[in-house]
């Protein structure tokens, strides 16, 4: 059953909720602009993004003097796009996909490979074809390197990508066997890349190549089907498997509805996914205009980046210099979310995993720096409670209202309400 669409026009709190989930947060004016409009129209408009980027990005990864510096500049450039870019939902989705099709800068330190990876996540952010998206990701030098398929050769299989393709990218644990992992690895032999290897070539453009001499052309049995499968076949069978619809829909619900998704609602999205052959755009259009979406207030604990970018956008995108932005990428790392470098290929689990003593302390420090510090942005017109907390009258509002604008904003940023979306 498809998800039921929201029928009422958006209230102020509905609009604040939508922008907290799809744009990291927003100013009062941005919230007010959506009040009274239909949920379908608002969702369509947010999803109709193009590929334009924020003007004036101060970071150019190609300027990196070392691979490590280039990685830092890549992070800075992405944070700039998250905070100031014209299409926050596209960036929110790219961030979500970077936590699905995970690569890590511990192994991938080539600038064009990282740029190619990010570009693919943005182009497919609301993809009409999950299968095509998966195929393109599988052939990215960044992914070939990260999960070692560049070394997967006939007679010398390397199972790393084949395993994670099933376990983490498509079906999830359950629908496949160890034999499927091995057979998939055989089918994927020969997929590698040329150029851009090693620390000296970190600015050189690598390119996917399919090496027929390294490919195992024999017969394979994979997910219940047999044939002389090649890499494309394995990607297609895994992406089109019925379990993939549920597994990836659940991740979209984790990103947009709740840290603990409702299985019934996930099934609704999975049905739409299967009916449309993995049309993620169709799934998202339905999801972001649904009653379930608007009923799920305060069910997601903001990730470190959601917290930081949300604060910047809620404060009206104040200017921050390049050094401050780079510091914020490092701070996000100390809070548990170093961009392009999750601890493992599974990505960040999120939810309550974001919260512990140390990360709570860091959230308090960041909030103080943004509101009270000597370099804090101008707060002559501090954000309203609605913009900060999604509620017109949040808990503790009476005492908070008696404080000056900076202190009120500071305490609101460290309140449970701001930290939830």
């Amino acid at each position: 059953m498809p998800l039921t669409p929201l029928s009422r026009p958006l209230t102020a709190e509905d609009a604040a909720h939508f922008l907290r989930r799809t744009a990291f947060g927003a100013t009062d004016a941005q919230i007010r602009a959506l009040v009274g409009r239909s949920a379908q129209q608002v969702a369509q408009q947010a999803l109709a993004f193009d590929q334009s980027l924020a003007p004036g990005n101060p970071f150019d990864p190609m300027q990196g003097a070392t691979p490590g510096a280039a990685v830092q500049l890549t992070r800075g450039a992405w944070l700039f796009e998250l905070c100031y870019g014209p299409h926050p939902l596209r960036e929110k989705l790219a961030l979500t996909w970077s936590n699905h099709f995970v690569v890590g800068t511990d192994k991938v330190r080539n600038v064009p490979a990282l740029a190619g990876y990010l570009g693919t996540l943005r182009r497919h952010a609301a993809t009409p074809s999950f299968e095509q998206f998966t195929l393109e990701v599988a052939q990215l030098p960044a992914m070939l390197r990260y999960l070692d398929n560049d070394q997967n050769r006939k007679g010398k299989p390397n199972e790393n990508f084949s395993r994670e393709l099933l376990e983490l990218f498509t079906t999830g644990i359950g629908p496949y066997t160890e034999t499927d992992v091995r057979e998939g690895a055989r089918a994927l032999t020969g997929w590698t890349y040329q150029g851009g290897r090693g620390n000296r070539q970190y600015l050189q453009q690598p390119a996917f190549v399919n090496q027929p001499t390294q490919h195992d052309p024999g017969r394979k049995t994979y997910l219940g089907q047999s044939g002389t499968f090649q890499g494309e076949d394995v990607i297609r069978l895994a992406a089109a498997h019925p379990a993939t619809a549920t597994f990836v829909s659940r991740k979209l619900h984790r990103a947009f509805l709740s840290d603990t998704p409702d299985p019934g609602a996930v099934q609704g999205s999975a049905d739409t996914w299967r009916r449309t052959n993995g049309n993620v755009l169709a799934v998202l259009s339905e999801l972001l205009a649904s009653e379930a979406f608007y009923a799920s207030r305060a069910r997601i604990i903001r990730s470190p980046l959601d917290f930081l970018v949300g604060a910047v956008r809620t404060l009206g995108q104040p200017n921050m210099d390049a050094r401050t932005l780079l510091n914020l990428t490092a701070t996000a790392g100390r809070m548990g979310q170093l961009m392009l470098q999750p601890d493992t290929v599974k990505g960040w689990d999120g939810g309550r995993e974001w919260i512990n003593d140390t990360t709570l302390l860091l959230r308090m420090q960041v909030a103080a720096a943004l509101t009270l510090g000597s370099k804090a942005p101008d707060l002559r017109a501090p954000p309203s409670f609605l913009a900060l907390t999604g509620q017109e009258r949040p808990p503790g509002a009476v005492l908070l209202a008696s404080l000056d604008g900076r202190q009120r904003t500071y305490l609101s940023l460290i309140s449970p309400e701001f930290q939830l979306a």
Partner: protein, 390 residues
Amino acid sequence: MTNRRDVLKLSALAVAATTGMPGFLARAATQAGGTNTLVVIQLTGGNDGLNTLIPYTNGAYYAARPNIAIPKKDVLTVTPDLGMHPGLRPLMKLWDAGHLAWMENVGYPNPNRSHFASMAIWHTADPTQAQADGWIGRLAEQIGDPFCASNVGASTPQALRASDFSLPSIDAVDNFQIKLPAGTDTPFQSLLNSPRSGEAAYLTRATRQMLKNTARVQSGIKKYKAGAAYPDTKFAQQLRDTARVIAAGLGQRVLYVSLGGFDTHAGQRAEQDELLTTLAEGLAAFQTDLERQGLAKNVVVMGFSEFGRRVAENGSAGTDHGKGSVMFAFGEGVRGGVHGSSPDLEDLSDGDIKYRQDFRGVYAEALTRWLRLDARAILGGTFNGPRWIA
């Protein structure tokens, strides 16, 4: 920024911190009186046990690994058949003193080759993966103190999760303190005391607990006097913080530290060599520190990884995910030596070694004979393991 902030007086907040807490956290800490500490070391990514404790007389080992086997001449001999990886040299002193134990061939039934499923099994001590709580979380419930175990690092592992709460994570002791701007502490208390439900209530509770934990750490941390120079690695610095927390005498019974990067699918020698060196140098400094502080007799270290790796190397001079592996333990309270028999490299299951000792038996020894706790209640059954506690 500093001139706009001052150190928060915690007395008022400490009162608020005891309300609204899950049952076990509010109970009297009746069993928290022990003085022994267990330090758990997690090697994340699946450490290759065969290249850690090496069967250097076994031809099958060298036949399976033409590129990545540790040459016999480089092995640090510990028995006529087994030797340690050369990167572990800093631990040889402990071996020679009889304080380093290796548990051979440790695993669990129906091994899972997923990093995440397997790690969850080690964290929950439940191979059926039915439980969400961690074994250290259940240990904390038994002790009845929310501060009896901590992770030293950025994110809390599942092992430290209790029914509705996670035990603390301390990323860096020096930063583990609260500073609130003048004039905001009363509104902050009011904010935290407002009634909430769902995830908002969880965040409120976690914040209150954090206020209490930071106060407790800062109250004791000055007792530490550096007893050793630690290497300049994050892992070693976390061990230094571990030593500081132990020296503070805050009543912590379990501390948890992780070292990642063991997923050596390609070019294993370079990667694992460096990791084992980092591991051994950090741990040796930690032990020296404890000895100089007079704390060594009260601390035991136990290390594990979620699985070992295939016996045969793959085509990329690396190894794919396997099954059983080695565990290690050291400390003055440890009975040194090799516990258990080495894997039979000619009788494999699907290319992997067959495990012979259940890891829960190794945990049980630490729980029962080192921490003096009821292992049966924590592990959900009786498990017999090697007698590795002296």
